[in-house]
């Protein structure tokens, strides 16, 4: 794990479920301020890769080096605290809480007060909570949800739920953001908006993003580097231009439907 390799380096990561190999020998590098895409058909193991990177599953072998430190084997809350945030393919919001509180959870682990202080209403609690509310509102404003801040997330339309989840992930000011099919379930107009929005975030915030999608236009328009997965293996990688021309990729995945 030498210096300068970038923010994240994944080395021969593998995951098996029973006898099925979901991810095999996955290698990737994500540099600072880099937008990386992972594409592949259903069952290619894309979401499994995200789950491994965020500590939802333990891997069977391999390394995940984040900022020079192997984080494979850490719990997901530990990885989250290192600055890795994510969204989920099928939105996972805290439906019993309103929009604002959902976003606020991103700051909890940073709080400098414990249960005892919370119990007796220590004044630091209030100071912290006020600061958190301000930050959370800032992010809600950024994704255009300020108006909905007091609504319960369970009652919001799908598109807005996606944005809440994104605001929640961004609010922790992560260094690496993992987006699991953010365009799923959106109509073409919404997809175009989403692409613009991600581009803007990326430009403004200077974070790195790993994006999983099977909608080609999203990945091709946004990503600097793309990994193509099929049956758990990487069958190709390169810039969007290279991927577009890679015969293996075209044969295995893109086929005729792509231009």
């Amino acid at each position: 794990m030498s210096e300068g390799q970038g923010l994240l380096e994944v080395k021969s990561l593998s995951k098996r479920f029973g006898g099925v190999t979901a991810v095999e020998d996955f290698n990737a590098v994500v540099r600072d301020n880099h937008l990386v895409g992972i594409i592949g058909p259903n069952g290619a193991g894309k979401t499994t890769i995200l789950n491994l990177l965020s500590g939802v599953y333990p891997c069977n072998s391999g390394e995940v080096v984040f900022e020079g430190r192997n984080v494979a084997g850490l719990k997901s809350y530990e990885i989250g605290r290192l600055g890795v945030a994510r969204t989920f393919q099928n939105i996972r919001l805290f439906e019993d809480m309103n929009v604002l509180d959902n976003v606020r959870t991103a700051y909890s682990w940073r709080a400098r007060y414990g249960l005892l202080q919370a119990m007796v209403g220590w004044k630091g609690v209030n100071i912290f909570e006020r600061a958190v509310e301000e930050k959370a509102l800032h992010w809600l404003d950024k994704v255009g949800l300020y108006k909905h801040r007091h609504e319960y997330t369970g009652s919001l339309p799908y598109g807005l739920q996606r944005r809440v989840e994104l605001a929640r992930a961004l609010a922790g000011e992560p260094k690496l953001l993992l987006l699991d099919e953010p365009a799923a379930g959106l109509n073409p107009a919404e997809v175009r908006e989403l692409i613009e929005f991600i581009q803007k975030l990326f430009d403004e915030l200077g974070l790195s993003i790993i994006l999983i999608e099977h909608r080609m236009e999203v990945v091709m328009r946004l990503c600097h580097w793309i990994y193509v997965q099929d049956f758990g293996r990487t069958i190709g990688q390169g810039t969007p231009e290279q991927i577009r021309k890679d015969p293996v990729v075209i044969k295995a995945y893109l086929g005729e439907e792509f231009e």
């Binding site: 965020s54 500590g55 939802v56 719990k75 997901s76 809350y77 989250g80 605290r81 945030a85 994510r86 989920f88 996972r92 919001l93 805290f94 439906e95 019993d96 809480m97 509180d101 959902n102 606020r104 959870t105 991103a106 700051y107 909890s108 682990w109 709080a111 007060y113 249960l115 919370a118 119990m119 007796v120 209403g121 609690v125 912290f128 909570e129 006020r130 509310e133 301000e134 509102l137 800032h138 404003d141 950024k142 994704v143 255009g144 300020y146 108006k147 909905h148 598109g159 944005r163 994104l166 929640r168 922790g172 107009a189 919404e190 908006e193 989403l194 613009e196 929005f197 803007k200 975030l201």
Partner: protein
């Protein structure tokens, strides 16, 4: 002490004990069938401390909480990692084990005959102040990041963990808070009835407490308090019905839970704002620039 004050004190003590169930079930969604055992633990520890070891009463109250939290730590540490449904079973086992110890250590606890001769040191004022303090503590916790985080864990543990929230740690802390509250209530109980017996702290009692919480609404502190207070006073109110009162009591609960699955109060909380006595402000961070562009879709604002 008059009848109404006695019923009031019992109600206050029970409500304080139920707050233990409320924090656990309301915040983390876990069901403990051993919650009343913590009350029993508190009752016996405090009674033994004062009667047998001549410890001053205030210290005995503290001791009751300390012992319950200590025991709770061991139980919580070993059972909170297992699945939720197994947790209910594990706490059931714990509760009945505590009761067996009370029954068996005849020399210390008086066994099934109960522990008699506890001085009456719980005054109505002490019970009331304790309840108010308990409510205040729980309210503070719910209003802090703990309340939020626990709710997050309850709704989606995986997503909460990804947000950097240590779910196990939160569950354990809430479990201990609940144990402490119930144990304190137990200590007050012992010094009010002047007599405790193992039969008072069985799993049925824990189950009744869970019902009380759901009756009032597990997402509302107001609801839990009203639920606990009204249901613990209800058998007294129904005294006129003699042997039918258990049936009526059950019927009332069934009706409420059937027609209001979120409990009597749902998420509603009693406060100056909800009573319309104070206007709820938008909170800090009011005037944010350009939050008008709601319909423009993601990224269309600013």
């Amino acid at each position: 002490m008059s009848y109404f004050i006695t019923v009031g004190v019992f109600t206050a003590i029970t409500t304080l004990g139920v707050l233990g169930t409320f924090v656990l079930t309301g915040l983390t969604g876990l069901f403990s069938l051993g919650q009343a055992a913590f009350m029993g633990l508190g009752a016996y520890v405090a009674a033994l401390a004062v009667v047998t070891f001549h410890v001053p009463f205030p210290l005995a109250l503290v001791l009751a909480v300390v012992v319950a939290v200590g025991v709770g730590y061991v139980i919580g540490f070993t059972t909170l990692k297992i699945r939720q449904d197994f947790f209910a079973l594990a706490t059931f086992g714990f509760g009945e084990a505590v009761r067996a110890v009370m029954n068996e250590s005849v020399k210390w606890t008086g066994g099934a005959m109960g522990f008699a001769g506890v001085p009456r040191l719980t005054t109505p004022l002490l019970a009331l102040v304790s309840l108010v303090a308990g409510i205040w503590l729980v309210r503070n916790v719910r209003g802090s990041k703990f309340g939020r985080d626990c709710l997050a864990v309850r709704t989606d543990e995986l997503a909460a963990e990804v947000m950097g929230i240590n779910a196990f740690d939160h569950k354990l802390k809430v479990f201990l808070l609940g144990a402490g509250l119930s144990a304190f209530a137990g200590a007050l109980m012992a010094f009010f009835t002047t007599y405790v017996e193992p039969a008072m702290f069985g799993w049925m009692q824990s189950a009744v407490w869970i019902i009380m919480v759901f009756f009032g609404g597990r997402d509302s502190l107001t609801g839990a308090i009203v639920g606990a207070a009204s249901l613990s006073a209800l058998p007294e109110i129904l005294r006129f019905a003699s042997q039918w009162r258990v049936a009526i009591y059950t019927l009332i609960i069934l009706l409420i839970i059937n027609f209001r699955p979120a409990g009597l109060f749902g998420r509603w909380e009693l406060s100056f704002e909800t009573l319309g006595l104070k206007r709820s402000g938008p909170g800090p961070g009011r005037r944010l620039p350009g939050h008008a562009a709601e319909k423009g879709g993601a990224g269309a604002d600013e």
